[in-house]
Protein backbone atom coordinates (compact mmCIF):
# COMPACT_ATOMS: atom_id res chain seq x y z
CA UNK A 1 0.00 0.00 0.00
CA UNK A 2 1.38 3.44 -0.85
CA UNK A 3 1.43 6.17 1.74
CA UNK A 4 -1.39 8.73 1.90
CA UNK A 5 0.80 11.69 1.00
CA UNK A 6 0.36 13.62 4.23
CA UNK A 7 2.73 15.63 6.37
CA UNK A 8 3.20 16.84 9.91
CA UNK A 9 3.21 20.59 9.68
CA UNK A 10 2.69 21.96 13.19
CA UNK A 11 4.32 21.22 16.53
CA UNK A 12 3.08 22.46 19.87
CA UNK A 13 4.89 21.71 23.10
CA UNK A 14 3.96 23.37 26.39
CA UNK A 15 6.41 23.85 29.24
CA UNK A 16 7.12 20.31 30.45
CA UNK A 17 8.34 18.72 33.65
CA UNK A 18 7.63 20.03 37.12
CA UNK A 19 5.10 22.53 35.85
CA UNK A 20 2.24 23.01 38.29
CA UNK A 21 -1.07 24.79 38.42
CA UNK A 22 -2.56 23.54 35.16
CA UNK A 23 -4.84 20.61 34.48
CA UNK A 24 -4.15 18.08 31.72
CA UNK A 25 -7.04 19.60 29.76
CA UNK A 26 -5.45 23.05 30.01
CA UNK A 27 -2.08 21.70 28.85
CA UNK A 28 -3.85 20.02 25.92
CA UNK A 29 -5.59 23.20 24.80
CA UNK A 30 -2.37 25.17 25.06
CA UNK A 31 -0.47 22.54 23.05
CA UNK A 32 -3.04 22.60 20.23
CA UNK A 33 -3.01 26.41 20.09
CA UNK A 34 0.77 26.39 19.90
CA UNK A 35 0.73 23.73 17.15
CA UNK A 36 -1.69 25.60 14.89
CA UNK A 37 0.23 28.83 15.41
CA UNK A 38 3.50 27.03 14.63
CA UNK A 39 1.98 25.78 11.37
CA UNK A 40 0.75 29.25 10.44
CA UNK A 41 -2.87 28.19 10.82
CA UNK A 42 -5.62 29.19 13.22
CA UNK A 43 -7.76 26.97 15.43
CA UNK A 44 -10.69 27.61 13.08
CA UNK A 45 -8.79 25.66 10.39
CA UNK A 46 -8.90 22.47 12.49
CA UNK A 47 -11.51 20.06 11.14
CA UNK A 48 -10.21 16.90 12.84
CA UNK A 49 -9.20 16.33 16.47
CA UNK A 50 -7.73 13.19 18.06
CA UNK A 51 -7.07 13.34 21.80
CA UNK A 52 -5.32 11.13 24.33
CA UNK A 53 -5.35 11.25 28.12
CA UNK A 54 -2.61 10.14 30.47
CA UNK A 55 -2.66 9.09 34.13
CA UNK A 56 -4.48 12.18 35.35
CA UNK A 57 -7.17 11.84 32.65
CA UNK A 58 -9.02 15.03 31.71
CA UNK A 59 -8.11 15.17 28.01
CA UNK A 60 -11.32 14.21 26.29
CA UNK A 61 -13.90 15.28 23.73
CA UNK A 62 -14.60 18.43 25.77
CA UNK A 63 -11.38 19.82 24.31
CA UNK A 64 -13.29 20.61 21.11
CA UNK A 65 -15.53 22.95 23.10
CA UNK A 66 -12.60 24.44 25.03
CA UNK A 67 -10.94 25.33 21.74
CA UNK A 68 -14.21 26.59 20.26
CA UNK A 69 -14.08 24.13 17.37
CA UNK A 70 -17.37 23.97 15.48
CA UNK A 71 -16.26 22.50 12.19
CA UNK A 72 -15.03 19.01 13.13
CA UNK A 73 -15.49 16.17 10.65
CA UNK A 74 -13.40 13.85 12.82
CA UNK A 75 -13.24 13.64 16.61
CA UNK A 76 -12.13 10.80 18.87
CA UNK A 77 -10.49 10.03 22.17
CA UNK A 78 -7.91 7.32 21.52
CA UNK A 79 -5.93 4.93 23.64
CA UNK A 80 -3.41 2.40 22.41
CA UNK A 81 -1.24 3.27 25.42
CA UNK A 82 2.27 4.26 24.35
CA UNK A 83 1.50 3.36 20.75
CA UNK A 84 -1.28 5.94 20.49
CA UNK A 85 0.58 8.75 18.75
CA UNK A 86 1.62 6.55 15.82
CA UNK A 87 -1.93 5.27 15.53
CA UNK A 88 -3.27 8.86 15.61
CA UNK A 89 -1.02 9.76 12.67
CA UNK A 90 -2.25 6.70 10.79
CA UNK A 91 -5.94 7.48 11.30
CA UNK A 92 -5.45 11.22 10.68
CA UNK A 93 -3.67 10.46 7.39
CA UNK A 94 -6.38 8.04 6.27
CA UNK A 95 -9.11 10.57 7.08
CA UNK A 96 -7.27 13.31 5.17
CA UNK A 97 -6.72 10.98 2.20
CA UNK A 98 -10.48 10.49 1.87
CA UNK A 99 -10.94 14.25 1.57
CA UNK A 100 -13.35 14.39 4.50
CA UNK A 101 -10.99 16.48 6.61
CA UNK A 102 -7.87 18.47 5.88
CA UNK A 103 -6.29 19.70 9.14
CA UNK A 104 -6.15 17.18 11.98
CA UNK A 105 -4.76 18.08 15.39
CA UNK A 106 -3.47 15.21 17.53
CA UNK A 107 -2.80 15.94 21.19
CA UNK A 108 -1.59 14.27 24.38
CA UNK A 109 -1.34 15.92 27.77
CA UNK A 110 -0.98 14.80 31.36
CA UNK A 111 -0.49 16.32 34.79
CA UNK A 112 0.25 13.53 37.29
CA UNK A 113 2.97 15.41 39.20
CA UNK A 114 2.20 17.51 42.24
CA UNK A 115 4.61 19.74 44.11
CA UNK A 116 4.60 17.49 47.20
CA UNK A 117 5.32 14.08 45.61
CA UNK A 118 8.11 12.38 43.71
CA UNK A 119 7.49 11.11 40.19
CA UNK A 120 7.49 7.50 41.34
CA UNK A 121 4.96 8.22 44.07
CA UNK A 122 2.76 10.09 41.61
CA UNK A 123 2.75 7.03 39.33
CA UNK A 124 2.08 4.59 42.15
CA UNK A 125 -1.03 6.50 43.15
CA UNK A 126 -2.52 5.65 39.79
CA UNK A 127 -1.22 2.11 39.35
CA UNK A 128 -1.74 0.52 42.77
CA UNK A 129 -5.28 1.57 43.48
CA UNK A 130 -7.93 -0.97 44.37
CA UNK A 131 -8.47 -3.65 46.97
CA UNK A 132 -6.28 -6.73 47.17
CA UNK A 133 -9.08 -9.11 46.28
CA UNK A 134 -9.20 -12.25 44.23
CA UNK A 135 -6.65 -13.28 41.62
CA UNK A 136 -6.04 -9.74 40.32
CA UNK A 137 -5.47 -8.77 43.95
CA UNK A 138 -2.92 -11.56 44.36
CA UNK A 139 -1.07 -10.31 41.30
CA UNK A 140 -0.80 -6.84 42.82
CA UNK A 141 -0.01 -8.17 46.30
CA UNK A 142 3.07 -10.10 45.15
CA UNK A 143 4.44 -6.95 43.50
CA UNK A 144 3.19 -6.96 39.91
CA UNK A 145 1.47 -3.64 40.31
CA UNK A 146 3.89 -1.25 38.64
CA UNK A 147 5.00 -1.02 35.01
CA UNK A 148 8.59 -1.03 36.24
CA UNK A 149 8.14 -4.52 37.73
CA UNK A 150 6.80 -5.84 34.44
CA UNK A 151 9.60 -4.25 32.44
CA UNK A 152 12.12 -5.60 34.95
CA UNK A 153 10.82 -9.10 34.19
CA UNK A 154 11.12 -8.42 30.46
CA UNK A 155 14.62 -6.97 30.83
CA UNK A 156 15.76 -9.90 32.98
CA UNK A 157 14.54 -12.34 30.36
CA UNK A 158 16.50 -10.50 27.67
CA UNK A 159 19.59 -10.63 29.89
CA UNK A 160 19.16 -14.35 30.54
CA UNK A 161 18.62 -15.21 26.90
CA UNK A 162 21.17 -12.96 25.20
CA UNK A 163 23.67 -12.02 27.89
CA UNK A 164 22.61 -8.38 27.89
CA UNK A 165 24.08 -6.57 30.91
CA UNK A 166 23.00 -3.78 33.24
CA UNK A 167 26.03 -1.77 32.07
CA UNK A 168 24.67 -2.03 28.52
CA UNK A 169 21.35 -0.62 29.72
CA UNK A 170 23.46 2.09 31.35
CA UNK A 171 25.10 2.87 28.00
CA UNK A 172 21.64 3.78 26.66
CA UNK A 173 21.01 6.15 29.58
CA UNK A 174 24.45 7.76 29.19
CA UNK A 175 24.08 8.26 25.42
CA UNK A 176 20.65 9.82 25.79
CA UNK A 177 21.87 12.18 28.49
CA UNK A 178 24.64 13.26 26.10
CA UNK A 179 21.96 14.11 23.54
CA UNK A 180 19.85 15.89 26.19
CA UNK A 181 22.69 18.30 26.90
CA UNK A 182 21.87 19.88 23.54
CA UNK A 183 18.11 20.00 24.08
CA UNK A 184 17.01 23.14 25.94
CA UNK A 185 13.61 21.52 26.63
CA UNK A 186 15.16 18.54 28.44
CA UNK A 187 14.41 18.17 32.15
CA UNK A 188 17.81 16.57 32.86
CA UNK A 189 20.89 17.84 31.04
CA UNK A 190 23.78 17.18 33.43
CA UNK A 191 26.14 14.46 32.18
CA UNK A 192 26.01 10.98 33.76
CA UNK A 193 28.44 8.06 33.64
CA UNK A 194 28.00 4.28 33.65
CA UNK A 195 29.14 4.44 37.29
CA UNK A 196 26.33 6.90 38.08
CA UNK A 197 23.90 4.48 36.44
CA UNK A 198 25.23 1.53 38.42
CA UNK A 199 25.11 3.50 41.67
CA UNK A 200 21.56 4.76 41.14
CA UNK A 201 19.11 2.94 43.38
CA UNK A 202 17.36 -0.24 42.30
CA UNK A 203 13.68 0.30 41.50
CA UNK A 204 12.89 -3.26 40.36
CA UNK A 205 15.93 -5.45 39.91
CA UNK A 206 17.62 -5.29 37.36
CA UNK A 207 16.29 -1.80 36.61
CA UNK A 208 17.97 1.12 38.35
CA UNK A 209 16.52 4.61 38.70
CA UNK A 210 18.51 5.74 35.65
CA UNK A 211 16.93 2.96 33.56
CA UNK A 212 13.49 4.54 34.03
CA UNK A 213 11.80 7.35 32.13
CA UNK A 214 10.80 10.60 33.77
CA UNK A 215 7.35 11.61 34.96
CA UNK A 216 6.29 14.94 33.45
CA UNK A 217 3.45 17.39 33.41
CA UNK A 218 2.76 19.02 30.08
CA UNK A 219 1.18 18.67 26.69
CA UNK A 220 2.18 18.15 23.09
CA UNK A 221 0.25 18.44 19.85
CA UNK A 222 0.92 17.98 16.16
CA UNK A 223 -0.96 19.09 13.06
CA UNK A 224 -1.38 16.63 10.19
CA UNK A 225 -2.39 17.94 6.75
CA UNK A 226 -2.11 16.83 3.15
CA UNK A 227 1.39 17.14 1.72
CA UNK A 228 0.06 19.62 -0.77
CA UNK A 229 -1.32 21.92 1.89
CA UNK A 230 1.77 21.51 4.08
CA UNK A 231 4.00 22.84 1.31
CA UNK A 232 2.44 26.31 1.57
CA UNK A 233 2.51 26.56 5.37
CA UNK A 234 5.03 28.21 7.65
CA UNK A 235 7.25 25.25 8.63
CA UNK A 236 9.22 22.77 6.54
CA UNK A 237 6.93 19.74 6.20
CA UNK A 238 7.83 16.40 7.73
CA UNK A 239 6.39 14.08 5.10
CA UNK A 240 4.82 10.86 6.34
CA UNK A 241 6.33 7.97 4.39
CA UNK A 242 4.93 5.04 6.26
CA UNK A 243 3.30 3.73 9.39
CA UNK A 244 2.48 0.45 11.01
CA UNK A 245 1.06 -1.14 14.12
CA UNK A 246 1.84 -4.43 15.85
CA UNK A 247 -0.04 -6.04 18.72
CA UNK A 248 1.73 -9.32 19.45
CA UNK A 249 -0.57 -10.51 22.27
CA UNK A 250 2.13 -12.39 24.12
CA UNK A 251 0.63 -15.59 25.48
CA UNK A 252 1.57 -16.33 29.07
CA UNK A 253 2.59 -19.86 28.35
CA UNK A 254 5.28 -22.09 26.94
CA UNK A 255 6.82 -20.49 23.87
CA UNK A 256 5.95 -16.90 24.83
CA UNK A 257 8.29 -14.29 23.39
CA UNK A 258 7.65 -11.86 26.28
CA UNK A 259 10.78 -9.79 26.83
CA UNK A 260 12.55 -11.22 23.79
CA UNK A 261 10.65 -9.64 20.87
CA UNK A 262 8.01 -6.92 20.65
CA UNK A 263 5.38 -5.55 18.29
CA UNK A 264 8.16 -3.53 16.65
CA UNK A 265 8.80 -6.56 14.42
CA UNK A 266 5.38 -6.28 12.80
CA UNK A 267 4.89 -2.51 12.97
CA UNK A 268 8.39 -1.81 11.67
CA UNK A 269 8.02 -4.22 8.78
CA UNK A 270 4.69 -2.66 7.80
CA UNK A 271 5.98 0.91 7.99
CA UNK A 272 9.17 0.16 6.07
CA UNK A 273 7.26 -1.74 3.40
CA UNK A 274 4.91 1.22 2.90
CA UNK A 275 7.85 3.61 2.67
CA UNK A 276 9.87 1.29 0.47
CA UNK A 277 12.88 1.45 2.77
CA UNK A 278 15.02 -0.92 4.82
CA UNK A 279 16.62 -0.36 8.24
CA UNK A 280 19.82 0.66 6.43
CA UNK A 281 17.94 3.61 4.89
CA UNK A 282 16.87 4.97 8.29
CA UNK A 283 19.28 7.73 9.31
CA UNK A 284 17.75 8.74 12.68
CA UNK A 285 15.90 6.63 15.27
CA UNK A 286 13.52 8.08 17.90
CA UNK A 287 12.68 4.97 19.91
CA UNK A 288 10.01 4.86 22.61
CA UNK A 289 12.10 4.64 25.77
CA UNK A 290 9.98 3.97 28.82
CA UNK A 291 13.07 2.07 30.01
CA UNK A 292 16.62 1.68 28.67
CA UNK A 293 15.87 -1.99 27.96
CA UNK A 294 13.00 -1.01 25.66
CA UNK A 295 15.40 0.87 23.40
CA UNK A 296 17.63 -2.18 23.01
CA UNK A 297 14.91 -4.74 22.30
CA UNK A 298 13.20 -2.33 19.86
CA UNK A 299 16.41 -1.67 17.89
CA UNK A 300 16.79 -5.43 17.48
CA UNK A 301 13.18 -5.95 16.45
CA UNK A 302 13.42 -3.24 13.79
CA UNK A 303 16.49 -4.96 12.35
CA UNK A 304 19.08 -2.30 13.16
CA UNK A 305 21.15 -5.16 14.56
CA UNK A 306 20.77 -8.89 15.09
CA UNK A 307 18.81 -10.30 18.05
CA UNK A 308 20.88 -10.01 21.20
CA UNK A 309 23.36 -7.55 19.72
CA UNK A 310 21.77 -4.26 20.80
CA UNK A 311 23.55 -4.35 24.17
CA UNK A 312 27.05 -4.46 22.65
CA UNK A 313 25.89 -1.89 20.06
CA UNK A 314 24.93 0.55 22.82
CA UNK A 315 28.18 -0.16 24.65
CA UNK A 316 30.14 0.73 21.50
CA UNK A 317 28.78 4.29 21.61
CA UNK A 318 26.89 3.91 18.33
CA UNK A 319 23.66 5.44 19.69
CA UNK A 320 25.09 8.66 21.08
CA UNK A 321 26.38 11.90 19.54
CA UNK A 322 28.94 11.10 16.83
CA UNK A 323 27.86 7.45 16.72
CA UNK A 324 26.93 5.53 13.58
CA UNK A 325 23.27 5.01 14.61
CA UNK A 326 22.05 8.26 16.23
CA UNK A 327 19.14 7.31 18.50
CA UNK A 328 16.86 9.41 20.70
CA UNK A 329 18.62 12.59 19.69
CA UNK A 330 16.68 14.87 22.05
CA UNK A 331 17.40 12.83 25.17
CA UNK A 332 14.15 10.89 24.91
CA UNK A 333 11.84 10.08 27.76
CA UNK A 334 14.78 9.05 29.93
CA UNK A 335 16.32 12.52 30.03
CA UNK A 336 14.15 15.08 28.21
CA UNK A 337 10.49 14.67 29.18
CA UNK A 338 7.85 11.97 29.27
CA UNK A 339 4.88 12.74 27.08
CA UNK A 340 4.27 9.16 26.03
CA UNK A 341 4.59 8.73 22.24
CA UNK A 342 4.78 12.46 21.64
CA UNK A 343 8.35 12.61 22.94
CA UNK A 344 9.92 10.55 20.13
CA UNK A 345 7.57 12.03 17.52
CA UNK A 346 8.34 15.65 18.38
CA UNK A 347 12.06 15.04 18.16
CA UNK A 348 11.55 13.22 14.84
CA UNK A 349 9.73 16.25 13.40
CA UNK A 350 12.36 18.61 14.83
CA UNK A 351 15.09 16.61 13.08
CA UNK A 352 13.08 16.43 9.84
CA UNK A 353 12.77 20.23 9.85
CA UNK A 354 16.49 20.61 10.45
CA UNK A 355 15.74 22.52 13.65
CA UNK A 356 17.87 20.39 15.99
CA UNK A 357 20.59 23.05 16.31
CA UNK A 358 23.60 21.54 18.09
CA UNK A 359 22.00 18.10 18.06
CA UNK A 360 20.85 18.21 14.43
CA UNK A 361 21.87 15.13 12.44
CA UNK A 362 23.25 16.10 9.02
CA UNK A 363 21.58 13.17 7.26
CA UNK A 364 17.91 13.53 8.18
CA UNK A 365 16.64 11.80 5.06
CA UNK A 366 14.65 9.05 6.86
CA UNK A 367 13.56 9.28 10.48
CA UNK A 368 11.83 6.54 12.44
CA UNK A 369 9.65 7.27 15.49
CA UNK A 370 8.26 4.43 17.58
CA UNK A 371 5.54 3.98 20.15
CA UNK A 372 5.20 1.13 22.63
CA UNK A 373 2.63 0.49 25.30
CA UNK A 374 0.67 -1.90 27.46
CA UNK A 375 3.83 -3.65 28.72
CA UNK A 376 5.17 -4.49 25.25
CA UNK A 377 1.70 -5.42 23.97
CA UNK A 378 1.12 -2.55 21.53
CA UNK A 379 3.46 -0.96 19.05
CA UNK A 380 3.41 1.72 16.38
CA UNK A 381 5.96 3.02 13.91
CA UNK A 382 6.03 6.19 11.82
CA UNK A 383 8.59 7.07 9.13
CA UNK A 384 9.17 10.75 8.33
CA UNK A 385 11.35 12.60 5.86
CA UNK A 386 11.91 16.19 4.70
CA UNK A 387 11.60 14.83 1.15
CA UNK A 388 8.30 14.05 -0.56
CA UNK A 389 7.66 10.33 -1.03
CA UNK A 390 7.89 9.14 -4.63
CA UNK A 391 4.38 8.04 -5.53
Amino acid sequence: MPTTNCAITGLGLTDVGKVYGKSAGQFAAEAVRRAVSDAGLSTGDIDGLLVMSGLAKGVNLDLAGTLGLSNLGLLAQMNVYGATVGAMIEYASLAIATGNVSVVACVFADAPLRPDTTGGAAWSEYTTRGARRGLPGLRAAIGLSSPTAHYALAARRHMSEYGTTSEQFGAVAVAQRQWAQHNPQAQFRGPISIEDHQRSRIISDPLHLLDCCLVSNGGAAIIVTSAERARDLRQPPAYIWGWGQGHPGHGWEQGSQFGLTTGAVQSGRAAMKMAGVTPADVSIREIYDCYTYTVLVTLEDYGFCAKGEAGPLAESGALGPGGALPTNTGGGQLSAYYLVGMTPLIEAVTQARGHGNERQIADNSMILASGNGGILSHHSTVLLSPELPAI
Binding site: G137, A149, A152, S160, I202, S204, D205
Partner: protein, 135 residues
Protein backbone atom coordinates in the same frame (compact mmCIF):
# COMPACT_ATOMS: atom_id res chain seq x y z
CA UNK B 1 10.04 -10.25 52.06
CA UNK B 2 6.59 -8.76 51.86
CA UNK B 3 3.93 -11.37 52.65
CA UNK B 4 0.91 -10.87 50.40
CA UNK B 5 -2.39 -10.37 52.20
CA UNK B 6 -5.23 -11.13 49.81
CA UNK B 7 -8.98 -11.53 50.24
CA UNK B 8 -10.93 -14.09 48.24
CA UNK B 9 -13.87 -13.35 45.98
CA UNK B 10 -16.34 -15.83 44.54
CA UNK B 11 -14.32 -16.50 41.42
CA UNK B 12 -11.04 -17.12 43.26
CA UNK B 13 -12.48 -19.18 46.14
CA UNK B 14 -11.51 -22.61 44.66
CA UNK B 15 -7.93 -21.38 44.10
CA UNK B 16 -7.51 -20.23 47.70
CA UNK B 17 -9.34 -23.27 49.12
CA UNK B 18 -6.85 -25.48 47.26
CA UNK B 19 -3.88 -23.40 48.46
CA UNK B 20 -5.05 -23.81 52.05
CA UNK B 21 -4.79 -27.57 51.47
CA UNK B 22 -1.34 -27.09 49.87
CA UNK B 23 -2.55 -27.80 46.37
CA UNK B 24 -2.00 -25.69 43.29
CA UNK B 25 -4.93 -25.51 40.90
CA UNK B 26 -4.97 -23.90 37.45
CA UNK B 27 -7.49 -23.91 34.62
CA UNK B 28 -8.10 -26.61 32.03
CA UNK B 29 -10.36 -26.64 28.99
CA UNK B 30 -13.24 -29.10 29.31
CA UNK B 31 -13.25 -29.58 25.58
CA UNK B 32 -9.66 -29.73 24.29
CA UNK B 33 -7.83 -30.37 27.58
CA UNK B 34 -5.28 -27.54 27.26
CA UNK B 35 -4.20 -25.86 30.48
CA UNK B 36 -4.43 -22.15 31.23
CA UNK B 37 -3.44 -19.83 34.06
CA UNK B 38 -5.79 -19.46 37.06
CA UNK B 39 -7.36 -16.25 35.79
CA UNK B 40 -8.33 -17.61 32.39
CA UNK B 41 -12.07 -18.23 31.97
CA UNK B 42 -12.42 -19.44 28.39
CA UNK B 43 -10.15 -21.59 26.25
CA UNK B 44 -8.05 -19.54 23.84
CA UNK B 45 -8.26 -22.33 21.29
CA UNK B 46 -11.92 -23.42 21.24
CA UNK B 47 -13.71 -20.88 23.46
CA UNK B 48 -15.12 -23.49 25.86
CA UNK B 49 -15.34 -22.70 29.55
CA UNK B 50 -12.31 -23.72 31.58
CA UNK B 51 -12.54 -25.49 34.92
CA UNK B 52 -10.15 -25.84 37.85
CA UNK B 53 -7.62 -28.64 37.61
CA UNK B 54 -4.79 -29.67 39.92
CA UNK B 55 -1.27 -28.86 38.68
CA UNK B 56 1.82 -30.91 39.50
CA UNK B 57 3.56 -27.96 41.16
CA UNK B 58 6.70 -28.56 39.09
CA UNK B 59 7.97 -25.61 37.06
CA UNK B 60 10.97 -23.83 35.63
CA UNK B 61 12.01 -20.26 36.28
CA UNK B 62 11.34 -17.95 33.31
CA UNK B 63 12.28 -14.54 34.70
CA UNK B 64 12.38 -12.76 38.01
CA UNK B 65 12.69 -9.37 39.63
CA UNK B 66 12.98 -8.04 43.16
CA UNK B 67 11.52 -5.06 44.94
CA UNK B 68 13.90 -3.56 47.49
CA UNK B 69 12.93 -4.13 51.13
CA UNK B 70 10.72 -1.37 52.48
CA UNK B 71 10.31 -0.32 56.11
CA UNK B 72 9.20 -3.35 58.10
CA UNK B 73 10.32 -5.92 55.52
CA UNK B 74 13.11 -8.30 56.54
CA UNK B 75 14.39 -8.65 53.00
CA UNK B 76 13.63 -7.73 49.42
CA UNK B 77 10.64 -9.38 47.75
CA UNK B 78 11.42 -11.63 44.80
CA UNK B 79 8.77 -12.53 42.29
CA UNK B 80 8.49 -13.46 38.67
CA UNK B 81 7.14 -15.94 36.17
CA UNK B 82 7.53 -19.68 36.30
CA UNK B 83 6.55 -21.99 33.46
CA UNK B 84 4.47 -24.80 34.90
CA UNK B 85 5.11 -28.34 33.68
CA UNK B 86 1.58 -28.15 32.21
CA UNK B 87 2.62 -25.19 30.02
CA UNK B 88 1.05 -21.99 31.44
CA UNK B 89 3.13 -19.29 33.06
CA UNK B 90 2.30 -18.34 36.62
CA UNK B 91 3.12 -15.03 38.27
CA UNK B 92 4.40 -15.96 41.69
CA UNK B 93 6.44 -15.06 44.71
CA UNK B 94 9.85 -16.72 44.68
CA UNK B 95 11.23 -17.83 48.02
CA UNK B 96 14.75 -18.97 48.89
CA UNK B 97 15.97 -17.81 45.51
CA UNK B 98 19.66 -16.98 45.90
CA UNK B 99 20.85 -13.61 44.65
CA UNK B 100 23.06 -15.04 41.93
CA UNK B 101 23.40 -18.20 40.00
CA UNK B 102 19.74 -18.85 39.33
CA UNK B 103 18.91 -18.21 35.74
CA UNK B 104 16.11 -19.01 33.37
CA UNK B 105 15.40 -22.72 33.37
CA UNK B 106 16.10 -23.39 37.05
CA UNK B 107 13.74 -26.15 38.29
CA UNK B 108 11.23 -24.77 40.79
CA UNK B 109 8.65 -26.39 43.04
CA UNK B 110 5.47 -25.07 44.55
CA UNK B 111 5.30 -24.28 48.25
CA UNK B 112 2.63 -22.41 50.19
CA UNK B 113 2.48 -19.39 52.47
CA UNK B 114 -0.24 -19.19 55.09
CA UNK B 115 -0.19 -15.57 56.31
CA UNK B 116 -2.21 -14.36 59.26
CA UNK B 117 -5.11 -12.24 58.10
CA UNK B 118 -5.10 -13.38 54.48
CA UNK B 119 -5.65 -16.33 52.20
CA UNK B 120 -3.03 -19.06 51.71
CA UNK B 121 -1.07 -18.42 48.55
CA UNK B 122 1.28 -20.50 46.41
CA UNK B 123 4.91 -19.52 45.98
CA UNK B 124 7.77 -21.25 44.19
CA UNK B 125 11.14 -22.30 45.49
CA UNK B 126 14.29 -23.85 44.09
CA UNK B 127 15.01 -25.37 47.49
CA UNK B 128 13.68 -28.92 47.62
CA UNK B 129 14.29 -29.19 51.38
CA UNK B 130 11.69 -26.48 51.86
CA UNK B 131 8.95 -28.75 50.60
CA UNK B 132 8.75 -30.73 53.83
CA UNK B 133 7.40 -27.83 55.83
CA UNK B 134 5.75 -24.77 54.43
CA UNK B 135 5.79 -21.43 56.20
Amino acid sequence: MKIPIVERDDRSAPFFDAAARRRLVIKRCQNCAVYGPPRQRHCGRCGAEMTWSRASGEARLVTWTASPAKKGDESETRFGYVELAEGPWLETLLVDLPIDGHLAGTPMHVTFLHPDGGESVPAFTANTSRLAGDQ
